[in-house]
């Protein structure tokens, strides 16, 4: 089966499913507003003290917050639900149902679940980015826009790959739920540009959990900080993460089939 068609089918099912619980839309909206509000309070506390934080102005940090929100919505609507389900499937042995289907298993486990209402965060994120952009009096050139978009997509792919790698560990270590908690904690660091962190943490946030690529670099694109070099590095890293995660997934899968037969 065509993987794109497959993904779209699951997407449709997910949307139909979630439409039944429309109250969740309002709950999600409220949650997004609460996180925007606390974010704004955090920013105003910071800028009550200083004019710039590590070289970033207030509207620039607002843009970072918007990207963080947007990417968080993507993680919670698509990446995390699928990976958590995968962990459950591995533990309960129900992954067999997936493996017996005539499609690429990695694609299947990655498109199974879809939390439609979490996309509210994506919308709210875009709104926040727009407001930040207006405050910056910026003009969005076509080149800049594509820089932003490609950085965003590559960041998303990297986050997915890291999640998949972490989840693949569940083939060996059963209790990995806490790893997803750890991941959430680290992702929260993306609320601020990674440049402010001490170097050891910055390295971790760049290469282990690519928050830097997922949030800071797209935000750099919006605030005229992005260089062609960092975009190229992002491309290289994306490819590396995709290949690595595919490899680890395969290895885990062969381990799983070996253990269950």
């Amino acid at each position: 089966m065509n993987p794109i068609k497959l993904a779209l089918t699951y997407l449709r099912i997910g949307v139909l499913n979630e439409m039944q619980y429309r109250i969740n839309f309002f709950i999600q909206l409220l949650q997004s507003f609460i996180s925007v509000a606390t974010g704004l309070i955090g920013l105003s506390l910071v800028f009550g003290q200083v004019k710039k934080l590590a070289g970033w102005s207030r509207p620039e940090l607002l843009a970072v917050m918007g990207v963080h929100l947007l990417m968080g919505g993507v993680i919670r609507s698509i990446i995390q639900p699928n990976m958590e389900r995968l962990m459950d499937d591995v533990r309960n042995g129900t992954l067999d149902f997936v493996l017996t289907k005539p499609a690429d298993a990695q694609i299947l486990v990655s498109v199974h679940e879809f939390r439609f209402w979490q996309l509210v965060d994506v919308i709210v994120g875009i709104v926040v980015i727009s407001i930040a952009f207006i405050q910056l009096n910026g003009t969005l050139g076509i080149l800049q826009f594509f820089g932003f978009l490609s950085a965003l997509i590559m960041g998303g792919i990297m986050l997915y790959s890291v999640w998949l790698m972490v989840t693949s560990i569940s083939f060996w270590v059963i209790r990995v739920q806490e790893i997803s908690n750890l991941f959430e904690g680290l992702y929260a660091a993306g609320r601020w540009p990674v440049g402010i962190y001490p170097s050891w943490l910055r390295t971790g946030l760049t290469f282990l959990v690519p928050v830097a690529f997922a949030v800071t670099i797209p935000a750099e694109a919006l605030t005229n900080r992005l260089t062609g070099t960092s975009l190229l590095i992002a491309l290289g890293m994306t490819l590396l993460f995709v290949v690595l995660s595919r490899g680890l997934w395969r290895l885990g899968l062969s381990n799983y089939s070996g253990a269950s037969s």
Partner: protein, 267 residues
Amino acid sequence: MRRYIDFYLATMRISILEQIQYSVANYFYMIGMITEPVIYLVVWTTIARQQGGTTGGYTVGAFAAYYIIWTLVRNMNIVFTPFGWEWRIREGQLSMMLMRPIHPIHSDVAFFAGWKFVVILLWLPLAAILSWIFKPTFDIRWMEVIVFSLAIWGAYLIRTMLLSLLGMITFWTTRVSAIFELYFGLELILSGRLVPMTLMPVWIQDLSNYLPFKWTFFFPIEALVGNLTDVQLWSGFGMQLLWIATGIFLLNIIWNFAIKQYSAVGG
């Protein structure tokens, strides 16, 4: 009384035995949680450095001390959640608890209290590592240590009461996650979890004086890392006791209604 002591000890023993089996999982959980204060710490020390070493009376080292102690207090603040109540009612576990000749809240308090001992033990090496990285400055008197070690348990009990009260809502309706989120948002701002309360605008500080939140976060931390007088220390602890008593009082009233509701609609 002896009966309750026996029950508490037995439950705490069970929970310690259980949680030791999950040390690794507990560690992952704690490490995941540590990123939050580290983020705040990095932001505020950056600001303090930009301003020549201090912000709002906090030096870089004082911020480090605040947020390192923060990690222990945060762990003490972990209690049975409203989501847990929802699950407990849905799965019928509450029915089994109600068949025992002991109040379910006692089970929760005892179980999490046992867990805390494991958490404190696991926290010590983490605190050592964080101290090595962030170089906190402490100026501690022995009275502060005494009040702090009482206040973290006070914080634990206040938060248990608050979240149990919140959990009672699930007896009537299950769609309450929005209310919980609102609560957690308020708590973040009004407790000292985000920043030391003294950095907050004055009106928020005033507001927080009339609410229980700051006694679960800011006060215990401040008791150890701040420069409170003995009178301030003990009156703060008195405030904690007051909030605990208020919590028990409210919980008793609402519990009766909740149980009436539960036994009317089934379990």
